[in-house]
């Protein structure tokens, strides 16, 4: 911009920005530090010794939850969603390069899907595909157990959200 000397406003805003960054990172760094908490410490400061106990605990076999399996599921889910998103968005983006019958309606439906709160969609999907009634009719989602199905569907919600960007360009 201009090469004149920094004015007072700059310093005020720079401090404001610094505080904002501190606000963003402060709690996260607290959590990272606390993850090295000693054996008999909790989620509070000061640290009760330093250890890797909680990390070891995470990868050990536990009564509730299985970190490795959950992690693999998340990763697979992420990959599936990525592939579906890229393919569908790319195709839709190509389609929107031309005008076709219903293109405006489809475009507005895509934008509207961004505007509707996710809990409403989750509820609707819960009504359409009740979790305790196994036959879903959706073969590609049927690969997943019903509990994962819900997650997969919610991810698809993100798919919809992401789609409006390529088509909007």
């Amino acid at each position: 911009m201009n090469r004149e000397k920094r004015r007072a406003g700059f310093y005020v805003l720079a401090i404001f920005f610094g505080v904002f960054v501190l606000f963003l990172y402060g709690p996260l760094s607290a959590i990272i530090v606390l993850s090295f908490q000693g054996l008999d410490g909790g989620l509070t400061f000061p640290l009760n010794g330093v250890s890797l106990h909680w990390f070891a605990n995470l990868f050990a076999i536990q009564a509730v939850g299985d970190f490795g399996a959950s992690f693999r599921r998340s990763l697979t889910l992420g990959l599936m969603v990525m592939v579906v998103t890229v393919v569908v968005s790319l195709l839709a983006g190509l389609a929107f390069r031309r005008r076709f019958w219903g293109s405006t309606a489809l475009f507005y439906a895509t934008v509207a899907s961004l505007v509707v709160p996710s809990i409403i969609i989750s509820l609707g999907i819960g009504v359409v595909l009740p979790g305790d009634r196994a036959p879903t009719g959706l073969v590609f989602l049927g690969l997943w157990r019903t509990s994962d199905l819900d997650l997969a569907v919610r991810r698809l919600d993100y798919v919809r959200r992401l789609q409006s960007f390529p088509s909007g360009l």
Binding site: M1, R7, G9, F10, L13, A14, F16, F17, F20, V21, F23, L24, Y25, G26, P27, L28, A30, I31, L34, L43, T44, F45, V87, V88, S89, L91, A92, L94, A95, F96, R97, R98, R99, F100, S103, L106, A109, T110, V111, A112, S113, V115, V116, P117, S118, I119, I120, I121, L123, G124, I125, G126, V127, V128, V153, L156, D157, V159, R160, Q163
Partner: protein, 299 residues
């Protein structure tokens, strides 16, 4: 370059040479299927189910307004809706204020594009972690023996730990501002970057001081970005249940949390009636924003 672009788009709009008619339909089909199954169908089903009857174990197809009269006739529901709107208003005001000044600093005070990019990235990185992690991260900071309380006691500012820092409405608002400010920063930053810098110079040459430049030039031109950020934040806050549940420790309610509780009790029609009311409110707010600000240029 711009001329060539516009010629290309114009030709594409009217169908480029060699494109057969089914091609765009086939390309749009996956999107149509996904929107149909995961957007339109659920919404239609919610509207239908909101008129159904139910008991503790199943739903009965019917056409009755009981779900609406039940939910709208209870003062608990009204209080919950008002509470949600209160959270929305406070979080909106806070994120708009913070978001505008952060974006303004990045766009106008940071001089090199590289620094701008780095600083923007610095703001973005925390948003790559999940909402839950960022929420839980506040607990050791705000808790009874948390960082803030310990620091204040050590400094001698207070003798007893402050109780309302965690598991309170304050905590809910703080966490929401923390979670959602980026959704305000990004669109505002985008619009600010598109403002022609010569307009600011012209205003300054015309004798405007910095405040007048901000108030009369920057803010009016930043309105589309503010509107998009506002829509994002309003929707996110109105649909939020996890932040309210975790950060208020169950002492506060929001419409989405009420819906979630109804869903876990299998009272789908009651939740559906709430969903319809919530959807209407959200759409009215969005429509009101779009009436005031024209965001079409930003899409």
């Amino acid at each position: 370059m711009v001329a060539i672009d516009s010629v290309l788009t114009k030709r594409n709009r009217h169908g480029p040479v060699g494109a057969r008619w089914p091609v765009p339909y086939l390309q749009a089909l996956p999107l149509l299927v996904i929107l149909g199954f995961f957007f339109l169908l659920p919404i239609v089903m919610i509207a239908v189910v909101s008129f159904w009857d139910y008991d503790f174990s199943r739903l009965y197809p019917a056409f009755q307004s009981m779900n609406y009269t039940d939910t709208l006739g209870s003062w608990v529901t009204w209080k919950t809706y008002l509470n949600t709107l209160k959270f929305t208003a406070i979080v909106w005001a806070a994120t708009l204020f913070i978001g505008f000044w952060v974006a303004y600093f990045l766009a106008f005070h940071v001089r090199s594009a590289v620094t701008q990019g780095i600083l923007f990235l610095v703001c973005t990185v925390p948003f790559l972690t999940s909402n839950i992690i960022r929420m839980i991260a506040w607990i050791p900071v705000l808790g009874r023996n948390g960082l803030v309380n310990t620091a204040f006691i050590k400094m001698g500012l207070i003798s007893q730990p402050i109780e309302w820092l965690l598991y309170s409405e304050f905590a809910v608002v703080l966490a929401m501002v923390h979670l959602y400010t980026l959704f305000m920063v990004t669109p505002i930053f985008n619009t600010l970057m598109r403002i022609d810098r010569s307009l600011l110079e012209a205003a300054r040459d015309g004798g405007a001081n910095s405040w007048q430049v901000i108030w009369n030039v920057v803010i009016p031109l930043a309105k589309p970005g503010m509107a998009i950020g506002t829509i994002f934040v309003v929707i996110l806050v109105m649909a939020d249940f996890s932040t309210v549940q975790v950060m208020s420790g169950g002492q506060s309610a929001s419409v989405a949390l009420m819906m979630k509780n109804q869903m876990s009790l299998l009272q789908y029609p009651a939740a559906a009636a709430n969903a319809v009311v919530l959807l209407v409110i959200v759409l009215l707010i969005v429509a009101a924003i779009l009436r005031v600000v024209d965001i079409r240029k930003e899409l």
